[in-house]
């Protein structure tokens, strides 16, 4: 599910900036609303995906640190990077490429995570 969301998010970046480039308010509005949908395909399942990865006795620490660490490595710099890219290339599509890149990183990382769906989460988790 999360990977589907990542794919949708990665691709949608291009549609989003195409819609923005029309400069028609209605298209821009549509683009922004739709961008929430693709973004939410990732945001919704995220809580379970992340929290399930950690063994119960370390879970609060692990999930919190993992989640907030992403603010440091990607969330924080993202607007700065996006703004810099826009300034350097003058095109929103460059930002879409950046979003695609990040989405690909997400897909790879998610694929590497063990999937605990339908498994008992109160048991110890190995490495």
């Amino acid at each position: 599910m999360y990977i589907i969301g990542s794919v949708a998010t990665g691709i949608f970046g291009f549609i989003y900036f195409a819609l923005l480039n029309t400069t028609v308010p209605a298209w821009i509005f549509l683009g922004i609303v739709l961008s929430f949908v693709t973004n939410d395909l990732m945001y919704g399942p995220q809580a379970a995906l992340i929290a399930e990865c950690f063994t119960p006795r370390l879970r609060y620490s692990g999930a919190s640190v993992g989640y907030q660490l992403s603010s440091v490595i990607s969330g924080g710099p993202a607007p700065l990077i996006a703004t810099a890219l826009l300034a350097a290339f003058g095109s929103g599509y460059v930002i879409a490429v950046y979003i695609l890149f990040c989405a690909i990183v997400s897909i790879i990382a998610t694929a590497l995570l063990p999937d605990y769906t339908n498994r008992d989460i109160s048991e110890e988790v190995g490495r």
Partner: protein, 327 residues
Amino acid sequence: MTMIGITSPPLSETDHSEQLRRAVIASTVGTTIEWYDFLLYGTVTGLVFGKLFFPESDPLVGVLQAFAVYSVGFIARPIGAAIFGHYGDRIGRKGALIATLLLTGLATFAVGFVPTYQHAGVWGAVILTVIRFIQGVGVGGEWGGSALLSMEWARSNAHRGFITSWSQIGGPAGAMLANIAVLVFSWISGDHFLIWGWRIPFMLSIIMVGVGLYIRLGILETPVFQRLLVENRTERVPVVEVIKRQPRSIILTALARMGEQASSSSTVPRSSISRAISCSRHSAWRGSPRSSRSHSPGICRIASDVGACISSARLRPGYSASSTSLY
């Protein structure tokens, strides 16, 4: 007596359902309140704080403002994650969640009383920056606990994903409430919005904290954590331990969020980009940067975002994309 609320005898089916329901409510409502607090600050930053606390004439103030924006994402939230992660794994999910709620809520309430530049000079900005930092610590600790609270009460492994995703609705719901609060009080106070109107939504936070506290005090510790206590398996220094034992999981989960973060964080550019690329008239569609997060019941999310769009479009005057790391 000492074990009350921490360890309890096995629950019947109905009791478990009741607890699950309460846990989901406590997750969702509590997280909504935290995001209300956090995003309210973000929304009001551009509308009010620039004028009343951070005048451009004072160079020191500019530094403070930048610090307030960046330190929250890069420092305060990870610190909050570590502190509350530690206590959440030591003394329990419930205690940690009550602490984060109080910390963020009281800090937000205090914003309503901070003296302006006109009255206290740069001190107003200093206090606001400190408060913002405290809010960041609280929010940083909130997410993990909220997700765990629902997840560890889920009855079957099959519907765990759905149950856990409820806590994620707190983001958009909090954003919507924050925007509505600002909108309503800007209508009520009219020309006096800058004088007193903006303070009311912050002061209202104390009522929400009361509600959240009531709900969170009424839940039991999760069955998973109870079992850890009974079997005496809690860790002495869980944060260090998890970094040692599951570094791969930490890094992968952080990276797994990258796509979502990149796309949602372009919300700041979302207002500035749309301003740059498209016509400036309608640039504030996405007024409060990062004002909304999402959740699986997508309709709620869309409704809240549309609400946020409309309210922030109305509040457009004086808006500036000032909050970068609000996730």
